[in-house]
C-alpha cells in the first residue's frame, strides 16, 4: 500500500474540495492499472493535481512513469481505473479532455523537416488555434523557449537541447490546464537543462499545473510541490519533500566504501540500534541512521571490527534518494 502523507487540508482539497469546496483538482487519476502481457507495468496508481501545483512522478527507469502518463493523456487505455481532467473523463476518443492537456513526450516528437515556427503552427492548429492569436502565441512561445532567432530554421539542424526546448514549447503552446513533461532533461547538456528547469518554474508561477516525471531526485526536489515515488508500477509514497523525508524517521545517510568482508560488516552495523537500514553494494554499504554524527564512531568500529577495510566515509543529510532507499531497499539510480 502506498504511504500517503500530507496535511489534512491538502488531502481534503485533493479529494474534491469537500472541506473548502474551493479548488477543483485539474487531474484526478484513480487506481490506474495497466499490464503488458504478464508484466504489471502500472499497478494501482492514484494521483491528484491542483491548479498551479507542480507534481513530481519520481522513479527509476522502467518504474512505469511513461505508462502512467500515457494513460493520463488518453493515449493508452487503462486496464482498470479512471482519469478525469478538468472535470472531464478521459478516454481514447475524448477530444475535450485532451484539449486541457499539453503533453511533452519523453522522445522528441517534432517534424524534423519543418522549422520551429511551422512545427508550433501545426500543433497550434490541431489545438484549434488559428489566425493572428496563433501567430502571436507562436512568437511568444518561441521567445519563451529561447528559439526566437532560429524560428525559420529546419528543426533537424538544431542541437539536442534546442530540439528539446521546441518539444516543450509545443506542449505549452495552447496554455493547457495541465502540462505533462516526461523526463524532459534526459540527454540534455547542463546549460539547456538549467534553462528547461527555469522555464518549468516560471510556468508554475503562472498558475499552470505541471506533472513532471524524472529519475533525477534533485529535479524533483527543486521543482515539485508534491512528489509521488513510483517503483515497479507501484506508488511507494506521496507527499511534499519534507513529508517524504520524515518517512525515513529523519535519518541521515551514511555511505561506507571500501573492501574486505562487507557481508560481515553489514551484519555488524545492522546490530547498532541507531542504524535503520543497510544496503550492501560490492564495494560499499549504504546506511540510514538516526543521529549519524553521534553514531558514526560506533558504526566505523563495527565495520572495521568485522573485517571491512574502509577507504571513505560520508554522512549525508536525508534527501529523496534516502527516502527511496528507505522505501524500496534500492538505490534510485539502479
Amino acid at each position: 500500500m502506498p504511504t500517503t502523507v500530507g496535511t489534512e487540508a491538502q488531502n481534503a482539497d485533493a479529494r474534491g474540495g469537500s472541506a473548502t469546496g474551493s479548488v477543483e483538482p485539474v487531474l484526478v487519476a484513480e487506481g490506474l492499472v495497466r499490464s503488458f502481457g504478464s508484466l504489471r507495468a502500472v499497478d494501482g496508481v492514484s494521483l491528484r493535481i491542483l491548479p498551479g501545483e507542480t507534481f513530481g512522478l519520481l522513479g527509476p527507469n522502467g518504474a512505469g512513469k511513461t505508462t502512467v502518463i500515457s494513460m493520463i493523456a488518453g493515449l493508452l487505455q487503462p486496464d482498470e481505473g479512471t482519469v478525469t481532467v478538468a472535470g472531464v473523463p478521459m478516454g481514447r476518443s475524448s477530444v475535450e479532455a485532451k484539449g486541457h492537456i499539453g503533453l511533452v513526450p519523453q522522445d522528441l516528437a517534432i517534424y524534423p523537416e519543418l522549422s520551429a515556427r511551422d512545427n508550433l503552427q501545426f500543433f497550434g492548429k490541431l489545438q484549434g488555434m488559428h489566425g493572428r492569436p496563433l501567430r502571436d502565441r507562436v512568437a511568444e512561445v518561441l521567445d519563451l523557449v529561447g528559439l526566437g532567432d532560429r524560428a525559420k530554421e529546419q528543426s533537424k539542424k538544431f542541437s539536442g537541447g534546442m530540439k528539446r526546448r521546441l518539444n516543450i514549447g509545443i506542449g505549452l503552446l495552447h496554455q493547457p490546464d495541465l502540462l505533462i513533461l516526461d523526463e524532459p532533461t534526459v540527454g540534455v547538456d547542463p546549460q539547456s537543462r538549467n534553462a528547461i528547469l527555469e522555464s518549468v518554474e516560471a510556468l508554475s508561477g503562472e498558475g499552470m499545473a505541471v506533472l513532471y516525471t524524472t529519475h533525477y531526485m534533485e529535479e524533483a526536489e527543486r521543482l515539485c510541490d508534491r512528489i509521488l515515488i513510483l517503483d515497479s508500477g507501484q506508488a511507494q509514497a506521496e507527499g511534499t519533500r519534507d513529508e517524504l523525508i520524515e518517512l525515513t524517521g529523519d535519518a541521515d545517510r551514511v555511505h561506507l566504501s571500501g573492501s574486505g568482508d562487507l557481508a560481515a560488516a553489514e551484519g555488524a552495523v545492522a546490530g547498532i540500534p541507531a542504524v535503520a537500514s543497510v544496503h550492501r553494494d560490492p564495494h560499499a554499504l549504504d546506511l540510514t541512521v538516526r543521529g549519524a554524527p553521534t553514531a558514526i564512531a560506533l558504526i566505523v568500529n563495527a565495520a572495521t571490527g568485522a573485517g571491512m577495510k574502509l577507504s571513505n566515509v560520508e554522512i549525508r543529510r536525508p534527501d529523496l534518494e534516502s527516502v527511496f532507499l528507505h522505501l524500496t531497499g534500492k538505490a534510485l539510480r539502479d
Binding site: 500515457s70 493523456a73 488518453g74 493515449l75 493508452l76 487505455q77 481514447r92 476518443s93 477530444v95 475535450e96 485532451k98 484539449g99 492537456i101 503533453l103 513526450p105 522522445d107 522528441l108 516528437a109 517534432i110 517534424y111 524534423p112 523537416e113 519543418l114 511551422d118 501545426f122 500543433f123 492548429k125 490541431l126 489545438q127 484549434g128 488559428h130 529546419q154 509545443i170
Partner: protein, 390 residues
C-alpha cells in the same frame, strides 16, 4: 475538418521541404517527357517511304513532293512494301491506287492509302506523306487552273469567265490520305509530346506518392503521430489527415506535370475536367497504396524500396514505359490489374478522341473501386497500428 486540413498541409510541407525531392519531382519527369517526345516524333532521321502503284501523274507528283521534303523514296510492289514497313525497312508505305490516279488526272481529289510502321518516327514520316500528297494535288490544281485560264482567254478572250473557271477548278483538288494501319490511327490524334506526358504523369504521380510512405513511417517512429493523437483529435481525423496528405502530394505532382508539360512542350491534355478527374481518382489509388506501405513496412529503407520498385514495375506493366498498344495479347489482362493501365486508357480517350468525363466513366469507375479498396485497407491498418502504438 480544420485538424484534418492541418495534418494534410503539414504532410505537403514536409514533402516540399525535402530537398532530395526537388530533382525527382520537378525536373526528372520533364526531362523524360522531353526525351520521349524527341524519340516519338522528332525531325531527326529523314522519312523512309515505300511507294506502290503503276506509273501515273499522281505517283510522280507525290514522289516529287516527298523527295522535296527530304524523304528517302523507294518504288516497289504491294507485298514488298508491307514487309518493309513491318520489319522497319520503311517508316511508311503509300499506296497509289488506279482510281486515285484517274481521279487526279480528271482534276478530282484523289484518295491515297497509307500504312505506318511501329517505329518511333513513323508518325513524323506519316505527316511528311500527308503534306507531300496535299502539295502534289495543290500543285496540279494550280497548273490546271492556269491552263484553264489561258485556254478560256485564247478562245473567247473573256478574262472574267476564265478567272471564274480557274477558281472553281482549284477548289475540289484535295487529297485524302486514308491511314489503314490500326495503330497509326490510334496514335494519330497525338502531338509529339502527348503520349510521353500522360505516361509520365501516371508514373510519377504514383511513384512520388508511394515514396511519401517513408515520411509516414518516420512520423510514426518519431512519435509525432502519437503526439497528434494526444491532441484534441480523433483517430479518424488523424487517419483522414494522413490520407489526405498523401492525396495532396499525388495531386501536386500530377498537376505540376500537367501544367509544366503544357507550358514547356505544348502538350494537349484534352478536356480538362476529364483529365483532372482521372488524375484525382488515380491519385486516390496512389494515396491508398502509400498508406498501406506506410504501415506495413517498418522502416524507411524498406518503404522506399517498395515504393520505387512497386512504382516502376506497375508503371511498366500499365503501359507507362511502352505503350499498351504494343503489348502482346497475353500481357494485356495483367496490365489491367494495374491502376496505370486504366489511367492510360482514360488519357488515351481524352487526348486522342476528345473524350470527356462521360466517355471515361468506365476507367473512372474501376479506378474509384481500386481507390476504395486500398484506402480502406490503409485506414484499417493505420488505425490498428495507432491503437497498438499507444
Amino acid at each position: 475538418m480544420r485538424s484534418v486540413l492541418a495534418i494534410a498541409e503539414a504532410e505537403l510541407r514536409r514533402f516540399l521541404a525535402d530537398r532530395s525531392n526537388i530533382f525527382f519531382v520537378f525536373i526528372f519527369p520533364l526531362v523524360l517527357v522531353a526525351v520521349l517526345g524527341a524519340s516519338f516524333g522528332g525531325d531527326s532521321a529523314s522519312a523512309r517511304v515505300a511507294v506502290v502503284g503503276g506509273e501515273s501523274a499522281l505517283r510522280s507528283a507525290v514522289v516529287t513532293q516527298l523527295e522535296r521534303a527530304d524523304a528517302e523514296v523507294t518504288i516497289t510492289g504491294d507485298d514488298d512494301m508491307r514487309q518493309r514497313v513491318a520489319r522497319g525497312g520503311a517508316d511508311v508505305g503509300v499506296l497509289v491506287p488506279e482510281e486515285a490516279a484517274r481521279a487526279f488526272d480528271a482534276g478530282q481529289g484523289p484518295e491515297l492509302e497509307m500504312v505506318t510502321g511501329s517505329q518511333s518516327n513513323a508518325q513524323a514520316a506519316a505527316q511528311v506523306v500527308r503534306t507531300a500528297a496535299a502539295a502534289a494535288t495543290l500543285r496540279s490544281g494550280q497548273e490546271r487552273a492556269l491552263q484553264a485560264a489561258a485556254t478560256s482567254a485564247g478562245v473567247d478572250g473573256d478574262i472574267d469567265r476564265a478567272l471564274d473557271r480557274a477558281g472553281t477548278s482549284i477548289r475540289p483538288a484535295e487529297t485524302q490520305v486514308r491511314d489503314t494501319s490500326g495503330l497509326a490511327q490510334e496514335l494519330g490524334g497525338l502531338g509529339q509530346f502527348d503520349l510521353g506526358a500522360s505516361s509520365q504523369v501516371l508514373l510519377f504521380t504514383f511513384l512520388t506518392t508511394l515514396s511519401g510512405a517513408a515520411a509516414l513511417i518516420q512520423a510514426r517512429r518519431d512519435g509525432v503521430v502519437r503526439r497528434v493523437m494526444a491532441g484534441p483529435v480523433t483517430s479518424v481525423q488523424t487517419i483522414l489527415g494522413l490520407g489526405l496528405g498523401r492525396l495532396t502530394i499525388a495531386l501536386f505532382q500530377g498537376a505540376y506535370i500537367v501544367l509544366a508539360s503544357r507550358l514547356l512542350f505544348g502538350v494537349d491534355w484534352g478536356n480538362l475536367p476529364a483529365a483532372l478527374g482521372l488524375l484525382l481518382v488515380f491519385g486516390l489509388v496512389a494515396a491508398g497504396v502509400s498508406m498501406v506501405i506506410g504501415v506495413v513496412a517498418d522502416n524507411e529503407g524498406l518503404a522506399t524500396g517498395l515504393a520505387v520498385g512497386g512504382g516502376l514495375v506497375l508503371a511498366a506493366l500499365g503501359g507507362c514505359m511502352m505503350p499498351l498498344e504494343f503489348f502482346p495479347d497475353s500481357l494485356r489482362p495483367v496490365a489491367f490489374l494495374t491502376p496505370h493501365a486504366w489511367g492510360y486508357e482514360g488519357f488515351a480517350e481524352i487526348q486522342r478522341h476528345g473524350g470527356t468525363l462521360l466517355d471515361i466513366l468506365p476507367q473512372l469507375g474501376v479506378l474509384a473501386g481500386m481507390a476504395v479498396l486500398w484506402l480502406a485497407l490503409g485506414s484499417y491498418l493505420l488505425r490498428r497500428s495507432l491503437a497498438r502504438a499507444m
